[in-house]
């Protein structure tokens, strides 16, 4: 009781003092908003209290919120690190295995990690997304043990990693994925050639009637440049050309499917494991028949837009890394790959 009374007196004193100061300073006060109100100088003291305290508080609130934001950001960063870790497991390896990279592969690798941790008690695997580019950068910088990539690592990236780690980079294919080209379910277009898709994404074909559809503008959806899917598409469909500026870039394949599902003039691309709300069309490579994406056509390589999904790690990586990577290509793990919606490696070629 006494203490709270003291605190109350303390704050009342502080508030009164700051108010008196603000009043004294008047318009010259550096508390701008406060100064507006003081010029009315009403006779009643209570009348002026609210705006004055408010003005002061807002300034403090801004500083406090900046601090809070910093703390919150730090906390978010911390939480993100432990997405799939099993906190309570007895740590046999002294450090957890950290995996980062392709958003396309996050679901797959998380499922692999869960089963791996079940089969190997004591091992801890942490899986993060962020995009292939992000994962490879983290791998080069040494903040992750293993990078997931939905495109092969570039030569300069490999060279950088080798220079940093003093060892070669091991490329380890773990699954196959078909890259679907999606249109709205109401769109009558059933198939496109690679050249047509290229022209559409480079802004040379802008109307659906040019490719056998209705007379409406084509609305382009694509991925951010940090995405491996973006790189793969640019390399294999656009022949390393540039996307038209009008491509709307969304965060993740799921967002693209969602947008194309709602936009009857839309076209998008992404891993076919996601196709739910939109329709994947048949793709025709030069001098070949149009092929619809399916497990069979992706696995036997007849579907032209199929790609390998990779793990990358350093040759001198600790055992916890190599063990997990080796396990990922066992029949047991490859059965999971099919379950998640991708295609196992062993049936290919």
């Amino acid at each position: 009781m006494r203490l709270s009374g003291g605190a109350e007196r303390f704050f009342a004193f502080m508030a009164a003092r700051s108010m008196r100061r603000a009043l004294r300073k008047g318009a010259a006060s550096d508390v701008q908003t406060a100064s507006l109100y003081t010029e009315f100088t009403p006779p009643s003291f209570a009348y002026d209290t609210r705006p004055l305290v408010c003005a002061g508080m807002k300034r403090h609130a801004r500083i406090v919120s900046t601090l809070l934001l910093t703390v919150a950001l730090a906390a978010c960063g911390g939480r993100e690190q432990s997405t799939t870790s099993t906190g309570g497991a007895p740590a046999r390896s002294d450090k957890p295995l950290t995996i980062k990279g392709s958003d396309t592969m996050v679901i797959l690798t998380q499922r692999l990690a869960e089963d791996y941790m079940k089969a190997h008690p004591g091992e801890v695997v942490q899986v993060n997304g962020g995009g292939t580019g992000t994962g490879v950068a983290a791998f080069i910088n040494g903040t992750t043990d293993l990078a997931m990539a939905s495109r092969p690592m570039k030569d300069d990236e490999k060279a950088q990693a080798k220079a940093r780690k003093g060892a070669d980079v091991v490329e380890h294919a773990v699954a196959l994925d078909g890259l679907g080209v999606f249109v709205n379910t109401a769109n009558p277009v059933q198939q496109l050639t690679i050249a047509q898709i290229r022209d559409i994404y480079q802004g040379k074909l802008t109307n659906w009637k040019d490719v056998g559809g209705p007379d409406t503008q084509i609305i382009l959806y694509g991925r951010e440049s940090s995405s491996g899917t973006y790189d793969y598409f640019r390399e294999h469909v656009l022949a390393k050309g540039d996307f038209a500026p009008a491509v709307q870039t969304l965060q993740g394949t799921a967002a693209i499917i969602n947008a194309v599902g709602r936009d009857k003039n839309g076209i998008g691309y992404g891993g076919i494991a996601y196709a739910k709300e939109a329709r994947a069309i048949a793709v025709q490579a030069e001098g070949a028949q149009p092929v619809a994406p399916s497990e069979a056509t992706v696995a036997d390589g007849t579907y032209p837009l199929s790609r390998k999904l990779f793990f990358y790690y350093a040759q001198n990586a600790p055992e916890r890394v190599t063990k997990f990577a080796q396990w990922a290509v066992t029949p047991e793990a490859q059965a999971l790959v099919t379950k998640v919606g991708y295609f196992p490696l062993n049936t290919a070629q």
Binding site: L67, P245, A259
Partner: protein
């Protein structure tokens, strides 16, 4: 009796000033870091590429990187203008209503409710705009693009209304009752009093709310990243998709090679945002000071 009070006083003063200094030092360090990272592009050639490239295209990951900031600055301005055009009238009207026309009991409900709106995370606002608002706008007005400046600007406007409302309302409520009574005594109606007496008297606060809303709009990231479509096109049409400075930084910072041109260009955008907010806040402060001085002169 007096010693523990002194100790407590000194302790509390120390804690508060430490917290204050930490914040100031943080901001200063961030400022320093941002500008340090831009050094790679602080030269004439890069400034030409940023602002004078023709055609203005932002394709940083192309084989020949094109780093024009024009489409992105234009996108930022489009979103900001639409957001402010929506939020300023709505926010000020709501503030006038709740301070001048609403019965006190209703006011006690409106004020916390609108202030609560400020607490809605912008990612939720962005998601709403992406899924609900975009579909509704397209179905109603037949927009070619689902995600466009109108959609993004409206969603941004929702986030700005509480800022405009709260500060304007504080200003309106602080106008002394004597002003209103004098106005009524001269035979003015309630609306005339609110519009011609109370609002002008609170003009500095209203203006301050606009400036703060502008600062928030320019820096807002998540809503525009989700609802703006992120296509870097140089177009003045409000019906085309847009890409903003902050959304570009958020989307691309994850994959750039540290120290590269692209990396420095993103930091340059950050520095640009910094400068824009700094200028807008300074101008706002100056105008507010001038206005309050003028009003004081008139009053005496």
């Amino acid at each position: 009796m007096s010693r523990p009070r002194h100790v407590r006083n000194a302790l509390m003063t120390g804690v508060f000033s430490l917290a204050g200094w930490v914040a100031i030092v943080f901001i200063f360090l961030i400022f320093l870091f941002t500008f340090k990272e831009t050094t790679v592009v602080l030269n004439v050639e890069h400034m030409k590429a940023f602002f004078l490239a023709n055609p203005p295209v932002w394709q940083p990951t192309s084989d020949i990187p094109k780093l024009s900031l024009i489409p992105i600055i234009l996108g930022t301005l489009k979103a900001t203008v639409v957001g402010l055009l929506f939020a300023c009238p709505v926010g000020v009207a709501a503030a006038l209503f709740s301070s001048e026309f609403a019965p006190p009991r209703l006011r006690e409900v409106i004020k916390p409710t609108i202030e609560l709106l400020a607490g809605i995370p912008s990612v939720v606002m962005g998601f709403f705009a992406l899924i609900v608002l975009a579909t509704w706008l397209q179905d109603t007005f037949g927009f070619v693009y689902r995600l466009n400046a109108v959609n993004a600007g409206l969603a941004l406007g929702f986030a700005l209304v509480p800022i405009v409302y709260t500060i304007s309302e504080d200003g309106l409520a602080a106008v002394p009752r004597a002003h209103r009574e004098a106005s009524y005594a001269l035979g003015a109606t309630r609306f005339q009093t609110a519009w011609k007496v109370v609002l002008p008297a609170a003009a500095p606060a209203v203006f301050a709310s606009f400036v703060l809303a502008f600062g928030r709009a320019v820096g807002e990231t998540m809503i525009l990243l989700m609802a703006g479509g992120n296509a870097a096109i140089t177009s003045f049409s409000l019906l085309d998709p847009l890409r903003t400075l902050s959304a570009t930084i958020a989307a691309e910072m994850g994959e750039v090679v540290v120290g590269s041109e692209h990396y420095a260009a993103l930091f340059f955008m950050g520095a640009l945002l910094f400068v824009i907010t700094f200028i807008s806040n300074t101008v706002g402060q100056m105008v507010i000071r001038r206005m309050s001085r003028r009003m004081q002169g008139a009053a005496s």
